[in-house]
């Protein structure tokens, strides 16, 4: 029974990993790629780690897997935030089909004042 749940979680996790990587390849600019990659790969890897709990039972391996889920959920969005901010500050523009960019407007305003 628990192995069945484990296989379901593993399938879902790997499916989301593949989708995230397809997004990484297909989407047009760095911010969109970061969105698809971060969301899908974070949940996919968390699902794979959760399936460890159902495959091995409650022991040293699964406790470490749960801790690892916690670390990933905290660190992955933070890294995405840092990379997107650095990309914007190093002068990467948004994709040409973008609608608006409040951040660039505000930052250019601040630079003019200085």
């Amino acid at each position: 029974m628990s192995e069945t749940i484990g296989y379901i979680l593993l399938t879902v996790g790997i499916a989301f990993d593949v989708l995230g990587c397809i997004g990484l390849v297909r989407l047009p600019d760095v911010y969109n790629r970061l969105q698809a990659g971060t969301k899908c790969v974070t949940l996919g890897t968390a699902a794979i780690l959760l399936s460890v709990l159902f495959f091995t039972g409650f022991n040293a391996i699964s406790v470490k897997a749960l801790l690892c889920i916690w670390f990933i959920l905290i660190t992955s969005p933070t890294a995405a935030h840092a990379i997107s901010r650095a990309a914007h500050r190093s002068g990467i523009r948004l994709w040409k089909g973008s609608v608006l960019d409040r951040y660039a407007e505000d930052r250019e305003g601040a630079e003019d004042k200085q």
Partner: protein, 84 residues
């Protein structure tokens, strides 16, 4: 199980495509960050197959080191020192 591992390797090759092809430096950084998270999933699958907790230790340290590496790359892209 082999199918799952094959799919993960396919993911890793898609990331490597973005690392090699990415037109700008942040694209490569994003791909490397995501590659690190995929490796954590790979370690988890390996610990399911072998039932040993050694690979889980690798996964934990890999996730934390990957985070620090991404932060360092982001700081480097932004053109600031590492002390701020």
């Amino acid at each position: 199980m082999n199918v799952y591992i094959g799919l993960l390797i396919l993911c890793i090759f898609m990331c490597l495509y973005r690392v090699g092809r990415g037109p700008t430096a942040p694209d490569r950084t994003v791909a490397i960050d995501i590659l690190g998270t995929l490796v954590v999933g790979f370690c988890a699958m390996w610990s399911i197959i072998t039932k040993r907790d050694l690979y889980m230790n690798i996964a934990i340290s890999w996730s934390l080191l990957n985070f620090i590496g991404s932060l360092a790359l982001a700081k480097y892209l932004e053109g600031r020192g590492f002390d701020e």
